[in-house]
């Protein structure tokens, strides 16, 4: 399995996949993921025509054929968008299906004449990395390096055009030229990429690595690097699997591995990932419950005029709602020295009193803010304050206090308890 040919194929596939991913990243960021797909499908007739008219085994003809077909497709889409009332996605679909249909037609014709088999035209549909010749490999690996170089060279232009095209035009950048460069790079990236995954699944190679990478970083160079790494890893996995199983096309396996990276990134990613959001929701629930308990104890002290203790049962009664995990929360509060457990129940420590006072203060400040600034009636404000007391940060608290001019009492005439310093 580790013969020199295989190593070369592997290395080539890594470069093919990562160069396509890096070029595709800008389409992904611009929200034009479908355009890459359309160009990929549109390349098919170009590639097959190059085979019929030129020497099908020479990669040079394939590249030229692909380039011409790709550019026609790209400018065809742009033309339809500008000159007709069709929406962009319709224009893209129209070009994609027409070109692809034509390509399949040409392919059937070549296959009937019997030349197709020997040239391995099939591989353009679903990719078969192991089937490419050494000559192909050298040419396409060189092309992949060229692509990476092109992106590095045009980095500033691509970055600005993707983020804010109007500004790029306003400062006098040659936007038409940059777009042309990007189109050529995309077409070449697709030409290179279809060697590995084929026309049908090319969009996955352009877009999925970036979609996965974007979950992990908000830094463009790092995102490009990560996308290249994801694509390489997928290419590695796909090539191994298809090499191990002789009848297996490479493309679907590479794409499956990529899909795995994509979906697991959506689940695992920090901050925006599904797991992180679930964790955040749990932590918010926990914070709310802790603060409600401290507030409850502080309120009881306020009414009694002296430190009091409450049993867990009394707490449930007072809040008139069932507390899930009440014992655990109380245990945690105890561990952090916010409450102490006495014979007659739980009581606030000095630290806990400060925290409880803070929650009560935020509640009353927000009630006052709602009546003063939003003109809400006094009987409507309590539920709102129940939530906001857990959300308001010290900075916002300072703003409210300043805006309301250090108020003394809330709309229900309860004192607003400040910290004495």
């Amino acid at each position: 399995m580790f013969d020199p040919v295989f190593i070369k194929v592997l290395f080539g596939t890594l470069l093919l996949a990562s160069s396509s991913a890096v070029v595709g990243a800008f389409s992904f960021l611009k929200g034009e993921s479908l355009v890459g797909d359309a160009i990929a499908h549109a390349l098919l007739p170009g590639v097959v025509l190059a085979f019929i008219l030129g020497d099908g085994r020479h990669p040079g003809y394939l590249i030229i054929g692909a380039l011409i077909a790709g550019l026609i497709a790209h400018y065809g889409i742009a033309f339809i968008e500008q000159r007709t009332k069709l929406k962009s996605d319709t224009a893209v679909s129209l070009v994609l299906s027409t070109f692809f249909g034509f390509g399949i037609l040409l392919m059937s014709y070549v296959q009937r004449t019997g030349q197709g088999q020997q040239a391995g035209l099939e591989r353009f549909l679903l990719g078969k990395a192991a089937a490419i010749t050494m000559m192909d490999l050298y040419v396409f690996t060189g092309l992949a390096l060229l692509l990476l170089l092109g992106v590095a060279l045009f980095y500033k232009g691509f970055q600005l055009m993707t983020f804010n095209e109007d500004f790029a035009a306003a400062i006098g950048l040659p936007t038409g030229g940059i777009r042309f460069a990007f189109t050529v790079l995309t077409v070449l990236a697709v030409t290179v990429g279809i060697q590995a995954v084929g026309v049908v699944l090319m969009a996955a190679l352009l877009i999925t690595p970036s979609a996965a990478a974007r979950s992990w970083t908000s830094n463009l160079p790092r995102m490009l690097l990560l996308a290249a790494l994801f694509a390489s890893a997928a290419a590695l996995g796909g090539t191994f699997i298809s090499a191990a199983m002789p009848k297996m096309p490479t493309g679907p396996w590479i794409v499956l591995v990529l899909g795995f990276f994509g979906f697991s990134s959506l689940i695992l990613a920090p901050e925006k990932g599904w797991l992180a959001r679930r964790r955040r929701a749990a932590s918010n629930r926990n914070k709310t419950q802790r603060e409600n308990l401290l507030k409850l104890l502080y309120g009881a002290e306020e009414r009694a005029g002296e430190p009091v203790a409450m049993t867990a049962g009394a707490m449930v009664d007072a809040r008139e709602q069932h507390y899930e995990g009440l014992t655990k929360t109380l245990r945690n509060l105890k561990k952090e020295f916010l409450v102490v457990e006495r014979a007659d129940g739980f009581a606030l420590t000095d630290l806990g009193r400060i925290e409880g006072r803070r929650v009560v203060r935020l509640h009353r400040l927000w009630e006052l803010y709602l009546t003063e600034r939003l003109g809400m009636a006094a009987d409507h404000i309590h539920p709102q304050a129940e939530t906001m007391e857990h959300v308001i940060t010290p900075e916002i608290e300072a703003l409210i206090v300043k805006e309301l001019g250090n108020p003394e009492v809330d709309p229900h005439q309860s004192p607003i308890p400040y910290e004495e310093d």
Binding site: L29, G31, L153, F154, K156, G157, Q159, L160, T162, F163, N164, D166, F167, A168, A169, A170, I171, G172, L173, P174, R214, T217, S218, N219, L220, M223
Partner: protein, 266 residues
Amino acid sequence: MEKSIEVHNLTVSYHSKPVLWDVDFELPKGKIIGIVGPNGSGKTTMLKTVMGLMKPDSGYTEIFGQPLDKVRERVSYVPQRESVDWDFPADVMDVVLMGRYRKNNLFKRITKEDRRIATEALEKVNLLEFADRQISQLSGGQQQRVFIARSLAQQADIYLMDEPFVGVDAATEDAILKLLRDMKNEGKTVVIVHHDLQTANEYFDWIVLLNTRLVAAGPKEQVFTKELLQEAYGGRLTVLSKLGDLISDTEFPLREPDFKEDQPQG
């Protein structure tokens, strides 16, 4: 009067419907100028046409007496904040550095000097401590200040800003206003598209009142009169509006093919 922007007989259409009809005015240098009008009155189109982002059907514009291409490095543009996707992977410094991009340094790396200028610009809008912050994590007011910092980094002589006061908090509004006055004191010209009549009188020295056609242009004392405001905000002219729809429906060209435009000299 030394002129900053000249607009000559400008007609511009959007989706083949005219949104500016034969607009003609001149703006002075070293003033804070408001382009004011109701929603859909062609203010943004006006700015985009001056910036060369939209092609006029007829007429032309000049900046400092020259076509835009000759003076591009002296002109700075602040697009509407909502016109970009703030989820783009970039931090504040990345965006401000874009103000240093030029046609002739497109393929070159960002220099130390670029970074120094960008840092200075961030300082002016009080965002230096946010230099490493992801732009997706900024508030609306902060995003607006990032855009203004990017435009300051261009070190231009005239600044065209599209609705910089929309969706910003009171503190940002004050900061922007102070900045505008500082810029004016340095002899810069600032042109601002603005839809809010309440504040227009306070912000600007000079006002262009638009509502598809030019209603008035001049020092604010002359323009900010009850009659002119009523004319600008009293709805669109029925004839213009009907004719615009007709031209759009029939795809009729706005100039006859052999019509020769008066073009600027040199």
